[in-house]
């Protein structure tokens, strides 16, 4: 099975649904160790993505992700806007104008997204950021894709599960990047909101392929 632009649009639509549904939860996470805006920003950003998708339906998965990147960049603001913008842009660049995405390309795109976040934000694993969701996700995707089963769904489910585990694993960490880092030790005991939204995004990717 290969992923096409329909999947991409469904993914982004499910992202928008997930952000709307978990808006308050993400605000609450950000309230604890940040400035209470993450859920609002992500919700606003993905609603704008929906509008753009309706205005000018993309023709390839790469084009859908590029449109997403530009929209998030111009509508989200804060730290998450440029970081997610870069992630989607790098993934889009990786996919080029291919009409279909196979497991290897998929895993490569996820890794490119992760690398984009790291390049932009300079966070390392364990800094209690979205990187702690994306790195295990990209690695899990690579592992499944390398296994050669040829199943894009399996790649995405592995990525989503790893991202979710990665987000949960941020709970005890002390933040060293982003706004939560100002709290020092007091940031421990709370989940990183960006890692949580990353897990939602990757779960939506799997959901759209199911």
């Amino acid at each position: 099975m290969m992923l096409d632009v329909k999947w991409a649009v469904k993914w982004l639509t499910m992202c928008a649904q997930a952000m709307a549904e978990h808006r308050v939860e993400l605000i609450e996470l950000d309230r604890a160790i940040g400035d209470s805006d993450h859920g609002e920003n992500m919700d606003r950003g993905f609603q704008a993505v929906l509008d753009k998708l309706a205005e000018a339906p993309p023709e390839t998965p790469g084009a859908a992700l590029k449109l997403t990147a530009m929209t998030l960049m111009s509508k989200v603001g804060g730290a998450a806007g440029p970081l997610y913008g870069t992630a989607f842009l790098r993934a889009s660049t990786f996919l080029g104008d291919a009409a279909e995405v196979d497991p290897a390309a998929l895993a490569g795109a996820l890794l490119a997204a992760r690398d984009g976040i790291v390049a932009r934000g300079k966070a390392e694993s364990g800094d209690k950021t979205m990187v702690d969701a994306w790195t295990p996700a990209a690695e899990a995707a690579q592992a499944v894709a390398a296994g050669g089963s040829g199943n894009v769904l399996a790649v995405l489910v592995a990525a989503a599960e790893a991202a979710e585990a990665g987000a949960v694993a941020t709970d005890p960490l002390v933040a060293r990047k982003g706004r939560a880092s100002y709290l020092g030790e007091r940031s421990a005991g709370h989940r990183d909101p960006g890692a949580a939204s990353s897990a939602l995004i990757l779960r939506a990717a799997a959901g759209a392929a199911a």
């Binding site: 605000i27 309230r31 160790i33 940040g34 400035d35 209470s36 805006d37 609002e40 920003n41 606003r44 960049m73 111009s74 509508k75 989200v76 603001g77 804060g78 730290a79 998450a80 806007g81 440029p82 970081l83 932009r120 934000g121 060293r176 990047k177 982003g178 706004r179 880092s181 100002y182 709290l183 020092g184 007091r186």
Partner: protein, 333 residues
């Protein structure tokens, strides 16, 4: 949550629209993307100054747009840095050819968004320099954090760099003055109560009736530590000590003392804090040459204040005194 708003999602647009109506003689408001420029921008031959950041800190930044200070302000959503597609057109609008300085408070979001906008502007042939403001001594261990935050010192950087641009300094000189102010100012703040972000609807943190947060920023985030309520003199001492210590203020130094309200504290209390701070500085043998007291960089309706001290030299003093005509700071004109 009780606020004089219509809809959490239209807060910034409606507020900026009102601001534009009140100050139509000073500014032009552009909607979609939202930014505010000085009425007479771009000013021929002058370096342009652009600042911006999340909303909720009013009068910062829009209140500082005008002669002798900023050429443009770019407000994001509440507590959310603006996006490159706002910052870029603001930058282009105030570029007279002499280049543009971005004054950026050191937060990951602000830095990343201004960085992108700066690159895009450069690509369009506009020279851009960035002055990063990071004056918050509450952030102790900047190695293990995103670095010191930009707080109260931002107002002083904007005023003084603005005066340098107004007198005709070139791009690098204006940026250098901004950096010099940033290098000589330190700030620390306290919150007596939290604030409520409109879209969140609940206070940004919970404080008991007898607790205060020391070392807060301007985004309703909790501070470095929580202590039992103290009197104004005690709190002032706690804030001022690290500020003076970090700056190494010694006998003979001349300073500007800035007591800033976080939005929900009466002016009368700020003067009580000022009184003590001035005493402590005098006891060190330093002289308060210039002062500013009021709500200039706020965190919505948060109760509390910040104390900033800027070490002055003759040039900085002169630039501070230079005429300024904005909604929130005005003198000499």
């Amino acid at each position: 949550m009780k606020k004089l708003i219509n809809d959490p999602r239209s807060v910034v647009d409606e507020s900026v629209e009102g601001f534009g109506l009140v100050h139509a003689d000073l500014v032009t408001v552009s909607a979609d993307p939202t930014f505010i420029t000085r009425k007479d921008a771009p000013v021929e031959g002058k370096v342009g100054l652009v600042s911006g950041g999340g909303s909720g800190h009013e009068p910062l930044h829009a209140g500082f747009v005008g002669m002798g200070m900023l050429d443009a302000a770019v407000p994001g959503a509440v507590f959310t840095s603006p996006t490159p597609d706002q910052i870029l057109p603001a930058t282009l609008a105030v570029n007279s050819g002499a280049g543009v300085v971005h004054i950026v408070k050191n937060y990951t979001g602000d830095v990343l968004n201004f960085e992108t906008a700066g690159e895009l502007a450069q690509a369009e042939g506009v020279e851009v320099r960035t002055v990063l403001v990071n004056d918050d001594v509450a952030v102790e261990d900047s190695l293990y954090t995103a670095g010191r935050r930009g707080v109260g010192g931002t107002v002083l950087v904007e005023k003084i760099a603005g005066a340098a641009a107004e007198r005709g300094d070139g791009l690098d000189a204006v940026a250098a003055i901004g950096d010099r102010v940033n290098g000589n100012v330190r700030t620390m703040g306290v919150a007596l109560s939290a604030c409520t972000v409109p879209h969140a609807g609940t206070p940004s943190f919970d404080l008991e009736d007898n607790e205060i947060e020391i070392g807060i920023g301007i985004h309703g985030e909790p501070g470095r530590h929580r202590i039992q309520m103290e009197n104004a003199n005690g709190i002032t001492d706690r804030l001022l000590e690290p500020v003076l210590g970090d700056l190494g203020i010694a006998s003979g130094d001349k300073v500007l003392l800035f007591v800033n309200g976080m939005g929900g504290t009466p002016l009368s209390e700020l003067y009580i804090v000022y009184r003590r701070a001035a005493q402590v500085i005098a006891d060190r043998g330093a002289t308060v040459e210039r002062s500013l007291v009021g709500n200039y960089i706020t965190a919505l309706e948060m109760q509390g204040c910040s104390i900033s001290v800027l070490r002055l030299d003759d040039e900085l003093t002169q630039l501070w005194d230079a005429p300024v005509h904005t909604a929130a700071l005005r003198w000499g004109v």
